[in-house]
């Protein structure tokens, strides 16, 4: 047998040598490493959180300079698509779980399996934390922080009317109806029918027993159950009058402002808006936090992570330092204190500063039963361009729940075809 020096093995050898030489002079060149970081932070509190993590990182790694580039969610996929197609990707990109499969399919992500496996803080994280960023045994990112779904409610109003905190969607509906008084411009539930509302609608369908896809990747939407879910959820506005009439155009800003100004009594969001709410209303007195109620089919609260991923081979070592740093308890807690976002690290989540605060109890409970979002190529696009507009059609009385669900199923069939 002869040793064949074909092109492929030569390249492999050369690549290995290159990688090795890249590692060797690292200390000598480390002074000037600069990486850019694409993230989707936008609110003032998120910005403050990022600033404090960056300040800590700078102190720990004076040799690496991180340039953050803020790419908000609505523009994010367009920008990253263009960057990938033209080959001008950033070093590190923040990727939410529902975008993972799209980005992987585009070839935007770098395999991080080996780096993650040899990371000294790997044991701080439950294995499940990496589920939404892994495919076929390969890991493509590290969770930076968690999105834990929960709700805010007006504790003072609930106490005054003697209403118990709802634990099922049926109870929530009763409470919402009780707290609504359209003549005074008060509504029980801040329904998000505008941008970003699509995920909540999908959660509702799953809570009514109709998951998006089966485990084998076939359509899991159960027509009858999905119709019941849409009928119930849109019904909060169209039947019960328990949601503001502006619901069909209400996005994040509108539901937050509605709650802050006392228009609504309950809103569905995640812990990331805690500081925004607490800046207007008194925690534990005027408002409280509660876990997402259970539906007739399941209790669906999402436990999603913002993953930091390496999106360029160049500067990957410096990028890895930055990504790892988000797993440090000090960084994670500093971020939580500015924003409300939960640490992804199991160890950091046990920090006294978190478990000692009763307002975070609902989120801590949710960590036990929260489940990841459905993730498949085209998931985000289907949610945004089929689920949301069809749900809006029900809200504005242009379609029945049956018609809307039929269109959603047709859209899903097209997305996964």
């Amino acid at each position: 047998m002869t040793i064949r020096f074909d092109r492929r093995s030569m390249l492999k050898l050369g690549g290995g040598a290159l990688a090795a030489s890249a590692l060797l002079p690292r200390t000598a060149f480390a002074q000037s490493t600069s990486i850019n970081y694409w993230h989707t932070f936008t609110s003032q509190s998120e910005q403050a959180g990022l600033d404090s993590v960056m300040a800590l990182f700078k102190a720990a790694h004076p040799d690496i300079s991180v340039t953050p580039e803020n790419i908000p969610n609505p523009e994010f996929m367009a920008k990253i698509t263009a960057a990938v197609v033209s080959g001008s990707r950033p070093n590190v990109t923040m990727v939410s779980s529902e975008r993972f499969r799209d980005l992987l399919a585009m070839g935007a992500l770098v395999d991080m399996t080996d780096r993650v496996a040899s990371w000294e803080r790997r044991s701080d994280f439950d294995n499940s934390r990496f589920d939404s960023i892994s495919l076929d045994g390969k890991v493509y990112g590290v969770p930076g922080f968690a999105f834990v779904d929960w709700m805010y409610y007006r504790k003072d109003w609930f106490d005054e009317a003697g209403i118990a905190v709802p634990t099922t969607w049926a109870e929530l509906r009763d409470a919402a109806i009780k707290r609504s008084d359209p003549a005074k411009g008060r509504y029980g539930f801040g329904l998000r029918g505008g941008p970003g509302g699509q995920n909540i609608i999908i959660n509702m369908m799953e809570a009514f027993g109709s998951p998006v896809l089966h485990a084998d990747g076939s359509i899991g939407l159960d027509r009858d159950k999905a119709i019941a879910a849409v009928d119930f959820f849109a019904g909060l506005l169209v039947k019960d009058g328990a949601a503001p009439p502006s619901a069909a155009n209400d996005g994040f800003r509108q539901i937050i402002e509605g709650f802050q100004t006392g228009q609504t009594a309950m809103i569905y969001h995640h812990t990331g808006s805690y500081q925004d709410i607490a800046s207007k209303l008194k925690p534990g007195v005027e408002f409280g936090t509660m876990a997402i109620p259970a539906g007739p089919g399941a209790r669906v609260a999402r436990l999603a992570y913002a993953y930091n991923t390496i999106t360029k081979e160049e500067g990957a070592d410096a990028a890895w330092e930055w990504i790892k740093f988000w797993g440090e308890p000090d960084a994670a807690v500093a971020f939580l204190e500015k924003t409300g976002y939960f640490p992804a690290s199991t160890v950091a989540a046990q920090d006294q500063r978190i478990i000692g605060n009763p307002m975070y109890a609902a989120a801590a409970d949710t960590l036990a039963f929260g489940i990841p979002q459905p993730s498949f190529p085209g998931a985000a696009g289907w949610a945004e361009s089929s689920v949301l507009p069809n749900f809006q059609r029900v809200l504005i009385g242009e379609a029945t729940a049956e018609q809307a669900v039929d269109d959603m199923i047709a859209g899903l069939a097209e997305a996964i075809a």
Binding site: S88, G251, R253
Partner: protein, 281 residues
């Protein structure tokens, strides 16, 4: 007869004033409201009862915006892109427009339509291929590259618009100059362009505004803070509608600032152009 004539003139004067004042109010009200919002404290903005005049003045939004947005860099980028675009259009578009206006030659109509057709292909889909081209020639994420991209759809606008003004300039003066022995080149620069100066300024203003305000190309073709333009910088800060209203309003107000400065300059040139035109008439 003279009585009714001046009577109807008075009537039209009154109507003109009424229309103009009403329009001006409608045009300015949103801007005034934005200004009021920008100097209100948060409690006066996010409130159940409408607060028309701020109970407390604050310049906090402006300070925060200034420190967070890198406004000077963004505006410099916008200025750079805008002036480059106008310059390229002036250099290449003026002569093209002149050719379309003054010569009848085979293929003229087709070519003119060709210039227009260029504008018609949706930007949404031109962006990705353009992105690839820009990257290959190393102009991606640079103000130069963006200016060239703008030229692709603003140059046709420039040519078409300016042709209207060249058409309106009387041809007799030019013929006279030609009889006096001037070349076509000489007649173009010494006679026709000065006469159409008025329209030239107006056309440049249009191109400048379009370049200044453009959002989609700027969003997609620039990535770093170093080459981002102001509309993109502002929209990225607004993000998913999470920027406080006060700061957003402050952003709106300071985006008017450079425009007013530019307008003050252009207004002068325009008035000069108009009076020159009046002497000619």
């Amino acid at each position: 007869m003279a009585q009714t004539r001046s009577g109807s003139k008075l009537l039209w004067d009154v109507i003109s004033y009424a229309v103009l004042v009403l329009l001006a109010l409608v045009c300015v009200f949103p801007i005034i409201w934005t200004f009021l919002t920008s100097i209100k404290v948060e409690e006066d903005i996010v409130t159940r009862e409408m607060v028309y005049f701020p109970t407390r003045f604050t310049f906090d939004w402006y300070v925060r915006l200034w420190s967070q947005s890198g406004y000077p860099v963004l505006v410099m980028n916008s200025l750079m892109v805008t002036s480059l675009t106008v310059l390229i259009c002036l250099l290449t578009g003026t002569i093209a427009s002149y050719a379309f206006s003054r010569f009848h030659f085979p293929g003229r109509t087709q070519l003119m339509l060709g210039y227009l057709v260029v504008r018609m292909f949706p930007a949404v889909l031109m962006i990705i291929p353009l992105f690839i081209v820009m990257r290959q020639v190393g102009l991606l994420d640079s103000t130069h590259g963006l200016a060239i991209a703008y030229t692709s759809f603003l140059l046709p606008l420039f040519v078409w618009m300016l042709k209207g003004f060249f058409d309106a300039a009387p041809k007799e003066l030019e013929s006279a100059a030609r009889i006096d022995g001037s070349t076509r080149l000489g007649a173009m620069f010494r006679i026709v362009i000065p006469i159409a100066r008025n329209g030239l300024v107006a056309t440049c203003v249009f191109v400048a505004i379009a370049a200044w305000n453009e959002y989609l190309f700027a969003l997609m073709l620039t990535t770093s803070q170093g080459s981002r333009t102001w509309p993109v910088g502002l929209q990225l800060m607004v993000g998913e509608f999470q920027l406080p209203w006060g700061m957003l309003a402050a952003g709106g107000m300071i985006s008017i600032l450079p425009v007013i400065v530019l307008f003050a300059i252009v207004q002068r040139v325009m008035v000069a152009g108009i009076t020159a035109g009046a002497v000619k008439g």
